[in-house]
Structure formats: C-alpha cells, structure tokens
C-alpha cells in the first residue's frame, strides 16, 4: 500500500465531499417537508386526506430505494418524458421522497403523543384547528421528533452513497475511481479513508441535532443539558448505538 499516494489524492476528494454533503442536505430538506406534509395528512380525521397520504407512505417504504433511484434517473425520462438535467437532482428527489415517507411516521407518532388534554384545553380557549396545530401541537411534538429524525438524517447520509450508482461522483464513487487505479492496489486505503469521512460527517449531524434537541426542550421548559461526564438516561439505557 502506498500511503503517500492516498495523501496526495486528498485534494481530489474535495469536490465529491461537497457532492455528498449537497445530496445529504438537499434530500434531508426535501424529506423534512415531505415528512411534515405526509405526517399531518396521515394524522387527519378525514379519510379522503388520510388515504392518499397513507398509500404514498406505504408505497415508498415498501419498495427499494435503489429501484426508486434508478426509476427517477433512468425510467422517468423515458416513461414520462421528464428529463432531469443532472443525475444528482434525480438522486435528491428519490432519497428525499423515500426518507420523507419514513420520517412522516415519526411526525405522525409525535403528534399522536401530544396528550388529549392539550387539545381540549386549546379548544376551550377557542383556538382554530390551525392555531391548535401551530401554537400547541407542533411546538410540543417537535422536540419528541428530533432524536428519531437525527437517526434518519444519519441513515440518509450513508444512503447518499447510493447516488454513485446513477453516475454521480460522490465520495463513494471517487474512492472507487481513484482506488481502482494501478490495478486497485490502494483500494482498501481509499475505502478506509471515506469510511472515516462518513463517520466524521455523521458525528457532525449527531452533534448538531443534540444541540437542536436541547434548545427545543428548553423551549418547553425541560432542561435537557446532560451532566458532564455522565451519560444521559436515554443513552445509558439503550447504549450508544
């Protein structure tokens, strides 16, 4: 193995790193919008609102994300005549819709977990249904969603590697590309390198989400600041994984 070659190739990873970050952030943003839209719709009392949302969620959860990726990248241009200019956009849409469908269950669950007394009290002070949602339900449901959304964000980061399958040059594609040179003698080192990069990115997401959660919990009067040097109860119970 030639470590000098790996070190020398580091600058070539700058652009693929940006691609991975872009795909992750853009599809996470799309997933969040989709998750709230579908989560609210599947929480609806009206069957006509709930059913299409339910069907969408089950379809996207029930079929392979890789197939969805291929479909948006290659089948859609043929079948529907829609051509995405960049494969990267097809990748963002596929990942965003797929993870949005999963996360909508997190949103729905957190909304359902708001105690019924809160709805009754907001009705007693005569809030409109929309005010109930905006002022009472969502502010209370949001901190409950963050840990699960954090887990999905990290999964999404890792799943972003799949865009390498539709000829987008992200970290994973680049590692294969550079590592494959000279008969692939440094392949292991390059895959080892991106393993570390993915881990660092995941750690950044995790840290950011923890800060967000603490802030959100303070917003409902819960001080979620962990005691220094001690595991938070949730981590102590479930382990770090």
């Amino acid at each position: 193995m030639d470590f000098q070659e790996v070190v020398d190739s580091l600058p070539r990873y700058a652009e693929p790193l940006l691609v991975t970050v872009q795909v992750t952030l853009a599809s996470a943003a799309l997933a969040l919008v989709v998750a709230f839209a579908l989560g609210l719709m599947t929480s609806s009392k009206r069957l006509a609102v709930r059913t299409p949302a339910r069907a969408f969620v089950e379809f996207f959860r029930g079929s392979s994300v890789v197939v969805q990726l291929f479909w948006f990248a290659f089948a859609m241009p043929v079948v529907l005549g829609i051509q995405f200019d960049y494969a990267i956009i097809a990748g963002i849409i596929a990942l965003g819709l797929n993870y949005g469908a999963y996360c909508s269950e997190v949103v729905r669950g957190a909304i359902a977990a708001v105690p019924p007394g809160q709805l009754e009290a907001s009705l007693a002070v005569n809030f409109t249904p929309f005010q109930r949602l905006r002022l009472v339900v969502l502010p209370q449901a949001w901190p409950e969603m963050i840990p699960s959304l954090c887990a999905f964000a990290i999964m999404l980061l890792k799943a972003s590697a799949l865009v390498s399958l539709i000829s987008v040059t992200d970290l994973t594609a680049m590692a294969g590309l550079i590592g494959g040179q000279n008969g692939g003698q440094n392949l292991l080192a390059h895959y080892g390198l991106i393993l570390v990069i993915y881990f660092v990115l995941a750690w950044l997401i995790w840290t950011g989400m923890r800060a967000l959660e603490r802030r959100a919990k303070r917003g409902i009067g819960i001080d979620a600041k962990p005691v220094k040097g001690r595991l938070t109860p949730a981590v102590a119970e479930k382990g770090l994984a």
Partner: protein, 270 residues
C-alpha cells in the same frame, strides 16, 4: 322556530341525550341555570356530571335527536342553540364554525390543569386573548398580569408550567379561563389531582372569583364544604338523571332521597 320557553336561563338542557356507543350516559336530561347562578353537580362517578360540562364546552356532542322541534335534545346557551344551529328555520347539528362562535362565552378549568407546557405562565394567559379575542399584545398582557395577581402568582409570570406546583398550575389555569371574559365558567373536579395541602389555595381563589364576579358557574366537585359555601344550588345526579336538587343547606343537611343520603355518607366518610 323552536326556542326555550324561559328567556331568562343562561343554560338550558332540553331533553338532552348522550350515548357513548351502547352506553347511555344522559337520557332526556332537562334543567335550567339562571345567569349568575352557581350550581354544584354531585353524584357517583359515571353519573354524567363531567359529561354535562364537556357537552357545554363542546368537547363532546349530544346524541342528535330525530326532530329537535318536537323531541328536544338541544342545549341552549344565552337563548341561542349551542349543540345545534339554525338553518332554514330548522335546527340542525352544529358545525365547527357555529361551535367556535357559540363556545366564546364559555370557559373551563380541567382536573389535570392542561396548561400549555411550551408557553411560559404569562403567555399561557395571553395567547388566546390575542389569537381568538383579537386583543392587542399590551392589552392582553395587562389583563393577564391583573389576573395572575388575583390568583397570587405575579412572581411566576416567566416560569414554565413544569416549574410550578400542581396548585400553582391550577391557579394559572383559572387565570387563563378568566382572561377570556367568560359568562359561564365550568369547573371539572379542579382539586381532585392536587395534594391535600394545595387544595385550599385553589379553592380560596375560586371563592374570590365567586365573591367578586357574577360569572355563572357549573361546578363538579367532591369538596362538599366548598360546594356549600359557593353554590346557590346543588344537583345530585345518578345514572344521568337528577335525583334531587335544592339549596346546599337542604341537600347537605337534610337530603330526602336515599341515594343522596348514601352518596353523602360515603363522600364525607373519606
């Protein structure tokens, strides 16, 4: 157009039915409440007391009668239908828009307080004033501070509900309900979830409210001393029916019905 026979009642139940599935909780219940009257509802659990309050707050809805004009089954508040609305000269089941209008003058305090945990104390009392009564922020805040002083919690305006004791939370909930200037205040076992030493403060606040305002009150409580002091009338319920009603002294000192006697004996023995 059917209308209540007495225009003086602020609340009129006219042969109201309420079923939960197969369980009939109220069966043709009728009663009237005069403006400013304080009525205490007593009776064993499952007798329909809380259901009456929840129907008035529109948290539950009456089991619709076939023909409201002939069969009744309608709740009236201040001479207007609450559970129903007028449409083409007939009474039809109320929609959300009608209910929003109709419940404006009704406030409720819950057994489990139900303060909004995501809002500080002051905002718990101001938010609905701003959003549903259209008051300015300053106006709402001035009103909230007055009411929080009335309930003895001026020093807690910037706290979150989770930082307050149960009794303090309940007093904030009373301020929140009063901030909406209700004509009718519904009190649903407001001290049942409190530690015994916190009950007196909450009841003290409610005594003040009763003494200084003319708000009509419907009270469901097991605090018989409080009921005796505050209310003008006591209604004893059993299985959705009024077993006996009268002035507090009559009911508590000299109940006629055996079921009332049994119930009071059981409650006072606690």
């Amino acid at each position: 157009m059917p209308s209540p026979t007495s225009n003086e009642s602020i609340i009129r139940f006219d042969r109201v039915d309420k079923s939960f599935g197969d369980l009939k909780v109220l069966d043709g219940l009728s009663f009237d409440v005069d403006p400013g009257e304080r009525v205490t509802l007593i009776g064993p659990s499952g007798s329909g007391k809380t259901t009456i309050l929840r129907l008035l707050m529109t948290l539950e809805h009456v089991t619709p009668p076939k023909d409201p004009a002939a069969d009744g089954g309608v709740i009236w508040v201040e001479g207007k239908p609450l559970s129903h609305m007028e449409k083409g000269g007939k009474l039809v089941v109320a929609n959300e828009r009608h209910l929003r209008q109709a419940r404006k003058k009704i406030g409720m305090v819950f057994q489990s307080f139900n303060l909004f945990p995501n809002m500080r104390v002051l905002r718990n009392v101001t938010e609905a004033q701003v959003h549903t009564l259209g008051r300015s922020k300053d106006e709402a805040e001035a009103k909230a501070r007055d009411l929080l002083e009335l309930v003895g919690l001026s020093s807690k305006v910037d706290n979150y509900p989770s930082q307050l004791s149960g009794g303090q939370q309940q007093r904030v909930a009373i301020a929140r309900a009063l901030a909406m200037d209700p004509d009718i205040l519904l009190l649903d076992e407001v001290t049942s979830a409190l530690d015994p030493e916190l009950v007196a403060d909450v009841l003290g606040v409610l005594r003040d409210v009763a003494d200084t305002t003319s708000i009509t009150m419907l009270i469901v409580t097991h605090e018989m001393g409080f009921a005796r002091d505050v209310s003008n009338r006591v209604m004893m319920f059993d299985r959705g029916q009024i077993v006996e009603e009268g002035a507090p002294d009559e009911i508590f000192s000299d109940p006629r019905e055996a079921r009332t006697q049994d119930f009071l004996r059981a409650v006072l023995a606690e």
